[in-house]
Amino acid sequence: MRNVILVLLGFITMACTSKKEIEKPKVAVVISTLNNPWFVVLAESAVSNANRLGYEAKIFDSQNNPANESNHFENLIASGYDAILFNPTDADGSISNILKAKKAGVPVFCMDREVNSNEAATSQILSDNYSGCIAIGVEFVKTIGEKGKYVEILGLAGDNNTYARSNGFHAVVDQFPGLEMIAQQNGDFDRNKAMEVMETILQANDSIDAVFCGNDSMALGVYQALKSAGKSNQIKVFGFDGNDEVVEKIKAGEIVATGMQYPKVMAKTAAQYADQYFQGKRNFPQHVPVAVDLVTVETSKNF
């Protein structure tokens, strides 16, 4: 009888071991929206890096809707996912979703967008928006000089990246009292919205020297508005992101500068952190800034 029990225990142990070996951890990649090509790169890079490390990975698109995001979290926790590489829809609204995962023992690694809590995500891997926009601010002053009138097109209200970029830019530009901001409006990181906003600003202001935009989609919209008004040669445009189309315009001398972000680096780091978590590591820095490089006509050959 004792032997039978021992044999049975042996079988059970072998069965458990085999299951464990076969079932590698599953990784969910939850992305704010796949309508923007930048986030598609982020999502696909996260999946390919997770795959390369030997994990099954699947993308969930929140379509910029916190309710979708919440449903994704509930479903993937119930489905037994082991880690979440996460691009949040809302700096405050997404915290409760992360806490649900945390309660279920599922680590969450934020990519690109920050949440306003240090107690929720295991780590947040973010572009160094502030420093990137300091570099753009310096280039801005060098290009237009210490006197002039400018416009700022902000991103989405409520998005931390919007304010980090604006604050970095103003940390430099505000030191030069001869530079006057004559308009500051939200373009919601959207090309068409930024174009419409710029068209309205142009109607009310004759004298503008430069426009700083919180992302490249908006820089393209602004450039389009300036071109239609016949002012693209007089008014200097600055963006942020490293969009291919903008880099080409910088090479052609149509846009002055942008900040090159690295979604692939953020996605790779998040996947590596998940891998390290599975290996037993628990101590991760809460915020990991990823460098943003200044792209000008001089440096554009590197990008």
């Binding site: 240090n118 002053v141 980090a164 820095p285 915020h287 460098a291 490089d293």
Partner: protein, 194 residues
């Protein structure tokens, strides 16, 4: 050996001409130790930069980077975060050949940017801080902003002229994708006219 002696002399001269600030008794007794106060800023400036053992002569750094990039980045470079570039503490004495828009060009090929002191060069090159010291990125950014303002005040209104010799301690950014390098742009922490 001669270069080492020269650099020790530069550091001694620049260090001895600095204003003395009261040292902090204990900064590391709290979980998030770094606060944006004047004592922290002064400690970072003096201990993290002017008295740092990481300071190397500019010509030695350029030579080492071009010959053995990885080792030089590891031994002397630093970046708080992820990226292909790193920041290095450097010192040099050379004659001024041109001054334009706050940019001081030197005979050695170095450009000292005494006007646009806004970035992470000095902060990161010092290796004085770590990401774990800060609750959020905005805390780190606040410290950087206050520190750069402090440094701008240290080098402001320096009445330099072409032909004069200056010594400086500062930091430069080097990108692995832009090798080999022939010269560097330095953000100064301290400049002394010889």
């Amino acid at each position: 050996m001669l270069k080492k002696i020269i650099i020790i002399v530069i550091v001694f001269i620049l260090g001895s001409q600095s204003i003395y600030f009261k040292r902090l008794s204990d900064l590391n007794n709290e979980e998030t130790s770094f606060k944006v106060d004047s004592e922290t800023i002064e400690k970072l400036y003096r201990e993290g930069i002017l008295e740092s053992e990481l300071i190397v002569p500019v010509d030695q750094l350029i030579n080492d980077i071009n010959l053995n990039t990885e080792l030089t980045f590891k031994d002397f470079g630093n970046r708080m975060g992820i990226g292909e570039s790193a920041y290095f503490l450097v010192a040099e004495t050379s004659n001024i050949t041109k001054i334009e828009d706050g940019q001081i060009s030197l005979e050695s090929g170095t450009v000292v940017d005494a006007k646009y002191i806004f970035g992470n060069e000095l902060r990161d090159a010092s290796r004085f801080l770590s990401l774990e010291d800060f609750d959020s990125q905005s805390d780190l950014n606040s410290l950087t902003e206050a520190f750069n303002k402090y440094v701008r005040n240290q080098v402001a209104n320096l009445d330099t002229k072409v032909g004069e010799s200056i010594s400086f301690i500062g930091a430069c950014r080097i990108d692995k994708r832009e090798l080999p390098i022939r010269s560097v742009v330095v953000i100064p922490a301290k400049i002394v006219i010889q």
